[in-house]
């Protein structure tokens, strides 16, 4: 048999194109790299959808661990624990990380007039919600803890990078903002490593990074407060963004038929009781989304909507106990309600 070179080339090219045609297209089934670990007091998962390597994953988790070691109140040797231990005694020098997050938390405390307050630590410790054996503390203890909560008594010195709690017994707790900061730090690593698409899930705080290969928008579900985890009330659709939710359904306990959740009102000393069951924030920066979800939950719908006006391109979805969904201006562009048992409130 004799074959011409041209004929052979034609055949090979055709065969390759045929084969390629069958496997090209969206990488729906491409193997992704992912890692899950217990960090920042919760379960964190990072999925590299397009680009990146195991080294990227290891670097991100190393960074998360580093932030936890600096800011956790559950580690005796963390910087925040040292600041708390030195309350009323002397200022403590902290890392740039910790100083930045404490300063940012104090900025939110100032902006919300104390609704968001990183010095809530004595109340958090007293209620101890989510750690087992919870019960409503005696009123006397709530009053004593409440008296130690005052963000204006937290002194920070940018020159020496020192943090000082002026009254003995005061405690910082960065639980409402540190995970947001951590997600932003993960984003920096993903950018440096030229990752094209990734999903960062820090205990339910979501950061969808980059753009998927098939160019379709990201779709982030917002947890249905009344259903099992993973059942969504609605979907947020868009490009790179972060979605953070504060809700009454994650950490709570019941006593005498009443639910006591973990979002505390520093003025009453009790869990916030304003009819809201969750607030979700959609934003570009996770530290803001994290602080805003707690801030807006505590402020409530009216004050929260007003407060949000100063944050451009940031949207909020409020859900109340009557299954009404309130959207901040513009949120309708990114949020779609799916669950028919909820309805969009007239505004």
């Amino acid at each position: 048999m004799r074959f011409s070179k041209a004929s052979l080339l034609r055949s090979v090219v055709a065969a390759v194109l045929l084969a390629a045609g069958s496997i090209a297209g969206p990488s729906l089934y491409a193997e992704e790299l992912s890692k899950t670990d217990f960090v920042l007091g919760t379960v964190c998962t990072i999925r590299l959808i397009d680009g990146g390597s195991n080294a990227t994953l290891n670097e991100t988790f190393s960074r998360l661990r580093n932030i936890e070691n600096h800011m956790s109140v559950n580690k005796d040797d963390s910087e925040i624990s040292r600041v708390n231990a030195m309350a009323g005694k002397e200022p403590v020098h902290v890392s740039e990380d910790t100083f930045y997050v404490v300063s940012k938390a104090l900025e939110y405390a100032r902006l919300t007039n104390g609704a968001f307050d990183p010095s809530v630590g004595p109340l958090v410790k007293l209620w101890n919600i989510g750690n087992g054996g919870e019960k409503v503390p005696p009123e006397k203890e709530i009053l004593a803890a409440k008296a130690l909560v005052d963000w204006r008594q937290v002194a920070v010195d940018a020159n020496t990078r020192k943090v000082f709690l002026k009254k003995p017994g005061m405690r910082l707790d960065l639980g409402a903002i540190a995970k947001g900061y951590a997600a932003d730090e993960v984003e920096k690593i993903l950018t440096d490593d030229k990752v094209k698409a990734a999903i960062v899930d820090l205990g339910g705080n979501i950061f969808v990074f980059g753009r998927k290969k098939d160019k379709s928008p990201w779709r982030v579900g917002i947890q249905n407060p009344e259903s099992a985890r993973g059942e969504y009330l609605g979907i947020v659709t868009g490009g790179q963004m972060t979605v953070v939710t504060s809700g009454v359904y994650e950490r709570f306990f019941f006593e005498n038929g009443k639910r006591y959740h973990h979002i505390l009102n520093t003025r009453t000393g009790f869990p916030v009781d304003n009819g809201l069951v969750s607030v979700s924030i959609v934003s570009q920066r996770s530290i803001d989304a994290d602080a805003l979800s707690t801030s807006l939950f505590i402020l409530g719908i009216d004050k929260g909507m007003e407060f949000l006006r100063q944050f451009p391109e940031t949207y909020a979805v409020f859900i109340d106990k009557d299954n009404e969904v309130y959207l901040s201006p513009g949120a309708g562009k990114v949020f779609t309600l799916l669950d028919k048992t909820y309805q969009l409130a007239e505004q």
């Binding site: 004929s7 089934y29 989510g130 979605v243 809700g247």
Partner: protein, 130 residues
Amino acid sequence: MKFSLKVHVRPLDIVIFGLAAVLVLGTSLLVLNRQSGTRYVQITGESGEWIAPLDKDAEYEIPGPLGLTHVHIHDGKAAIIDSPCKNKLCILAGAISEPNQWVACLPNKVFMRITSSGGKDDGGVDAGAF
């Protein structure tokens, strides 16, 4: 103007197209098989990671720093039915079956997530915020 279309098929052309057809068929079957959306339970503990099919009833004991966490897979759902933690939130979380749903026993460092081999089987959601 005159056009002529002549197709010369040679023996090697047939062989190569045959190989390409096999390749096409093989990859198509692979893709279709994965589109069926088989669900798995991915369990992560301190000492490693386990993956089990969700459609096969089974029980597993996952070791953690506090002891054994018992995972029960039944009727296409997975649940933590016992764990040596204080608050038992992992048990109260109930059974999970949908892709990306997860349950964790934080004190015993056991994490369980539903995954799917088919990307279209996740309800069209990339991630869930809670």
